[in-house]
């Protein structure tokens, strides 16, 4: 005989047991939170700024070729002393008293630009540029050397070299209390 289903779903005997359909949506909020947390971490730990460098070319000491004579009037010698000070002079060592200056825009840079102009004015021609000789003393630091080289590139000095300091120049530094 025909029966009428009056009972609630799933309760009747012999009938199919239907599982409740769960939603396929997953709450991703927590996962996104985690992902962004990790992103932040990796962004902050990666070194974005790569180390910068300045090139330096030293002369080859082993080759003893005849060097071009350079007029003393075109050379500027910079002695790197202690206490972040420099002493510079034009021409031959021991003839003129060195000027004591500091590093930076108002010290060495100004002197380089002014001397460069003076040399260019008194030596006409394409070879009339100033030659700078950098002589670090034992009491100068590595930072001083880098600053001095940096000034060379800022003031666009065509020709410069790092040279061993002479005893006369050490005396000059000593007299200025920079050793």
């Amino acid at each position: 005989m025909a029966e009428l289903d009056t009972s609630g779903g799933g309760k009747h005997k012999g009938g199919k047991v239907r599982s409740k359909k769960a939603s396929t949506r997953v709450d991703l909020t927590a996962m996104v939170d985690l992902a962004f947390l990790l992103i932040t971490f990796f962004m902050l730990t990666t070194t974005l700024n790569k180390p910068k460098a300045m090139n330096l070319a030293m002369p080859d000491n082993s080759i003893k070729t005849s060097q071009l004579p350079v007029p003393e009037s075109r050379t500027m010698t910079i002695l790197l002393g202690s206490h972040n000070k420099v002493a510079w002079f034009m021409g031959e060592p021991g003839k003129t008293a060195p000027t004591v200056d500091s590093y930076g825009p108002n010290g060495l840079r100004k002197a380089l630009i002014e001397n460069g102009k003076a040399v260019a004015a008194s030596h006409p021609g394409p070879d009339g540029y100033m030659i700078v000789v950098i002589k670090p003393s034992e009491s100068s630091t590595y930072e001083n050397l880098v600053s001095a080289l940096d000034e060379m590139s800022i003031t666009a000095i065509k020709s410069y070299a790092i040279v061993k300091i002479l005893p006369v120049e050490l005396d000059a530094l000593k007299s200025q209390n920079l050793l």
Binding site: L28, I39, K50, N55, D60
Partner: protein, 206 residues
């Protein structure tokens, strides 16, 4: 009058797209991240206005750290293996394969040869706390630093057929003679072009 009912929208937003983007970025950052090498020399580099970036690989870096300690780091695990073998032969220090392997994975070191075995026998976790004395260097042609550089260059040339880019990383307060020694050693090996590692300072106003 019937009230206008504002339709209530579900506050749940579909996060799938956001999740995708987040993980894509995450993957990118994980893959590009390079573990930062702890610098035992603790060199504080001076600033300059130069903006030349040193190359990523094939670099032999000489660090002059605080108290004149000299550290060396050169790229390439295979080069490091070869260099240690050559140095072991030169100084009559036989190294076991385990020690060589350990050295190949050490990015930067600064120990004299007579301490090298002791240094390499330490477990990785304790390497940081090991008091590295720095590589002995003087201006003679046969100092340890000079031999390290020479052998590393030979190994690099033999394995990769390239020449190392030389970089000097110095502590800003280091006195000039320490730098001069390194430059002299390089000069003896006919290396006259190198990079001085600096941090970037704001470019000067003209």
């Amino acid at each position: 009058m019937p009230r206008v009912k504002v339709a209530r929208k579900s506050t749940a937003i579909d996060m799938t797209a956001m999740c995708d983007v987040a993980f894509l970025l995450l993957t990118f950052f994980i893959l590009t991240a390079k573990p930062k090498v702890e610098d035992p020399s603790k060199a504080e580099v001076p600033a300059s206005s130069k903006e030349v970036t040193i190359p990523e690989d094939n670099v032999l870096m000489i660090s002059i750290g605080q108290q004149n300690k000299i550290f060396l780091s050169f790229s390439g695990n295979d080069v490091r293996t070869e260099t240690l073998k050559a140095m072991g032969e030169k100084y009559n220090v036989p190294f076991t394969p385990a020690e060589i392997n350990k050295f190949a994975n050490t990015e930067i070191f600064g120990v004299p040869m007579n301490q090298m075995k002791q240094f390499l026998s330490l477990p990785s976790g304790e390497l940081k706390s090991f008091d590295q004395k720095g590589i002995p260097a003087d201006t003679t042609n046969n100092s340890e630093l000079s031999n390290w550089i020479l052998n590393a260059r030979k190994a690099d040339r033999g394995l990769h057929g390239k020449d190392y880019n030389i970089a000097i990383k110095g502590d800003r307060n280091e006195k000039y003679p320490a730098v001069s020694t390194v430059i002299n050693i390089l000069g003896q090996q006919k290396l006259f072009k190198f990079d001085l590692i600096t941090t970037l300072r704001a470019a000067p106003k003209k």
